[in-house]
Amino acid sequence: MNPARDNQTAPGSAGRLRAYLMFTVLLIAAWVLWSGMFKPLLLALGAVSCALVVYIAVRMGYFDSRVFALRFNLRLLGFWAWLLKEIVKSSLEVARIVLARKLELSTRVVEIDVSQLSPVDQVILGNSITLTPGTLTLDADDGKLLVHALTAEGAAALEEGEMLRRVAAIHKD
């Protein structure tokens, strides 16, 4: 269940401490920025929340691999724009199916080979598939995504692989 725990490519203890600190500072900054209030009760709640999040992150092996692996760049924004277009398109398609007098379903389960992508890109692809209505990532395992599609057309579009190519292009250097 937990691949991060299997390959202990852990950074040194100094690097690990720096990652803990950066993560904690980021959480505290986020809390103060979003809350904007400095009453003792709210600050205490914030401290407890931050500590809880750090504890959970450590427990799920977040610091065992590279932290802050998701880097932002302009191509990510371009991908989001394309994804938004896809979400609108497939939402209309699902809305048409839902509102039709008779439900016209042709569900398919397809397996997509994503072994060429880095783990972060695999997550981006899996989540993007789930985010577009009509396709749903069931399982991600061993470089393969198991995807459930509402219609045969949706499954075919996925197997054609445009989304995979666009995800692969985000972090290509």
Partner: protein
């Protein structure tokens, strides 16, 4: 003048957002099994959330509230597929196989 334009755009977004939430709800009721219901519900999750929150952002204008709303939208779009994936995986582990108990379809279900 600009205020009216933003108001109209905002109300259009909110109306269509509300409509997608409604369609997602209808779909979740009409679909035959868990996985197809999740497909319908994801209209609410993605398009509904995007339209409603963008509409509210236009109401808030260039304030801190808009930045907070944008952050809420970002986190929602990051976490909701993760939750869907957890639900789908849990359903499969519990023996709810997709494509077997879907009744009204032309799929390769036995």
């Amino acid at each position: 003048m600009m205020g009216t334009v933003f108001d109209i755009a905002s109300w259009v977004l909110l109306t269509f957002g509300g409509l997608s939430v409604l369609i997602g709800g209808i779909g979740a009721l009409r679909m035959p099994d868990l996985f197809t219901r999740m497909h319908a519900a994801s209209v609410t999750d993605s398009l509904g959330a995007i339209l409603v929150l963008t509409g509210v952002m236009l109401q808030a204008g260039l304030t801190l509230a808009t930045i907070k709303l944008a952050a809420i939208l970002l986190f929602l779009l990051l976490t909701s597929p993760t939750a869907s994936n957890a639900l789908a995986t849990a359903a499969m582990l519990a023996g709810n196989k997709p494509g077997i108990d879907t009744t009204s379809n032309r799929s390769d279900a036995q």
